[in-house]
Symmetry: C2
């Protein structure tokens, strides 16, 4: 109620105002094509101001005239509708998984124009070898999409922190301190993709990007905890439409929240972490499938579907552990929703009952209901979608950076 | 890296610009008295703009000329320093504890001008009886301070949520759904304090206000988890200088994070909540002091100081439980610091060793060091200070509301 809404550090200026209004106009157009008059009505800006701002956005290649706007019942000719330019700058996403690589290109509207996935066991390979394959996959995705990316974002199964480009630790790949952005640039250059090598490149944790994809393309809430599994267990905390990154970029390590303080020793050195109950290795072990290779999520889903009691019990155990850890997070964070994403989305039918029971028993000091625990419809596509869409979102949110405003 | 910095919902305007610049100027003056020239240099605004904005702040009673500014080695007469007006609008804080009432008045600079505390057992009394006493305490505090409050904020040991004025549940007072703001207004009126009854009144959870006090008056970090104990165990999560309130205002319920999922049953209905290990009742029971009345924190501190082994062991047990719950929170939130506040600050010497050991063992996937767990110097004064200072902070952050900007 009382705390400051961020202390200003610079003066409000005419230039800053124009840049803010450029973003305001593009934001309205991004939601749906609009005539200049409609933009003026929605933003509160004058017609003249909207025309001038729209001109700048058109010149910058971000907006196109799409032909007559839908007549709105008013007298006179309908205005021309302005829409995001599908041939404008796009976003390029890449993903390094333990068992796969991915590449995705989206246009300025966030529509997927190319989607490539390659199953390949990356555990134990060197970053250079993996990035060479990834560079080739990216080259093909861009060629297929036929657009000019404005940036490249890379989803990785490990800690990136606030460095933006250095993977500090990826236990499941056995990588440490890899300057991913720089090495991917080299790999792109070696693959002859000079244009892609020139792009801004950022890396981010897959759970963060999965959470952002849920925010941008998912259920519509802007205040949620997104819980996902790939090789490890991760979470993204979204508050008021923003991802909580933490003081040094390490927020969301739900996998290492203690579930049973005296439980089994985790790879992280602590005891009884959530990953020891709901991570890939733990669930496979509980299901009697230790050491199985390939897509563990698909395998478990298939067996549970077929009625395999041991698998179902293993998933119920994982669900209970998830419920305990998530109850703590709900008591701490008060999210509007908890979203089960990544691999967990596919396993949800067998995780949810136990998870719901724990939440109902443990979230009692404030209202809670079962329907606040939902399943992501993006599932395992989340991180790669989040990577690619993030690039174009950044343009829409602050077009002044590109359009020279 | 990529998520939007909040989508604008209205046009940037000349009026909005002036209001923002008014806040910018007052923010600089609030940090330390400054000449107009210094304000211009720090803000990037022109001298003329600063003069006009300063005039508005002076007319509004928020700023005064304090005589010559410190000469800064430059040629020419030093300018007159502008400072916050100590006779400008003030802030009034009130506190309802289980065993006490408090009232505090601060001036616009946040300096305490009156501080009153009354030991009284409120458990089991009606809200009306308690508020009548509080109204009298407030009347005396304002008379002593000799200032004109701009608002009143009330710290309570319970859930307020985003209602702002209704106490939904205070287990330790056995109150439910009390429209505190409205009832305090009635009590003030009945006590003859018509002027105070006219003020904006808000209520907030004591742990939230304690955390805000730490942000404004404490160690200087703007990214921390503040853990405190009064009757219950509470936490405030501060991220980038803002209190995380959650989707419905219930964030920070660290006391109900599960520590041992099969542990003792909590008053909330769940099992093994942190409060069952580190709350007042649990610690007193572990120390063999169950049922003792009066100031439990002071009593435990005194006995631990005197070398009472049972008390020391009880506090070490509480520290370990705090360490387990806080490890989970650190893994989830990645705060720059964890601050032990409220009653825990006074008990810190006996809580810290076990707490540090748990954190070291359980926060391993990212850098962590003992010195990131600190002790608040505000201790139990936090919530009441936070209530009063919050009122004047709101003015400094957006003076346009008062000064008509």
């Amino acid at each position: 109620m009382r705390e400051p809404d961020g202390v200003r550090t610079g003066p409000a200026s005419q230039q800053g105002m124009r840049r803010a209004n450029l973003a305001l106009v593009l934001g309205v157009i991004a939601r749906a094509p609009r005539s200049r008059a409609e933009v003026a009505a929605e933003t509160g800006l004058t017609r003249a101001a909207v025309s001038s701002l729209a001109e700048e956005l058109i010149t910058g290649g971000l907006v196109v005239e799409e032909g007559p706007a839908t007549p709105s019942g008013k007298v006179g000719r309908p205005g021309t509708a302005l829409g995001l330019n599908p041939r404008g700058p796009g976003g390029l996403g890449a993903e390094i998984g333990v068992e796969h690589l991915g590449a995705c290109a989206v246009d300025l509207r966030g529509e997927v124009r190319a989607w490539r996935r390659q199953e390949i066991r990356n555990r134990g390979r060197t970053p250079a070898a993996v990035l060479a394959d990834l560079a080739e996959l990216l080259r093909r995705a861009v060629a297929e999409a036929g657009l000019r990316p404005a940036g490249l974002a890379l989803a990785v199964p490990g800690l990136v922190g606030s460095s933006g480009g250095v993977l500090q630790r990826a236990a499941n790949l056995d990588w440490r301190d890899v300057p991913l952005a720089a090495e991917l640039r080299l790999a792109l250059r070696a693959a002859g993709s000079e244009d892609l090598a020139e792009l801004p490149i950022e890396a981010d944790n897959e759970a963060n990007l999965g959470g952002l994809a849920e925010l941008w393309l998912g259920g519509g809430s802007d205040h949620f905890l997104h819980v996902s599994a790939e090789a490890g267990v991760g979470a993204a905390i979204v508050i008021g439409g923003r991802l909580l990154r933490g003081a040094r970029g390490y927020a969301g390590e739900l996998g290492h929240v203690p579930v049973r303080p005296d439980g089994p020793r985790c790879v992280c050195g602590a005891h009884g972490c959530l990953e020891q109950y709901a991570g890939e290795t733990a669930v496979l072990r509980a299901a009697g499938l230790e050491g199985i290779r390939g897509d563990w999520v698909a395998l478990l889903a298939e067996r549970a579907e077929a009625g395999d009691a041991e698998v179902r019990e293993a998933l119920a155990g994982a669900g209970a552990a998830l419920g305990i850890a998530v109850s703590g997070a709900v008591n701490l964070l008060d999210p509007a929703e908890v979203v089960l994403g990544g691999g967990y989305a596919q396993l949800a039918p067998w995780l949810l009952p136990a998870m719901r029971a724990e939440l109902a028993a443990r979230v009692t000091v404030r209202p809670w209901s079962d329907d606040r625990l939902t399943v992501s419809r993006l599932g395992r596509r989340g991180p790669l979608l989040g990577a690619a869409v993030g690039v174009v979102r950044a343009i829409v949110v602050d077009p002044g950076r590109l359009a020279g405003g």
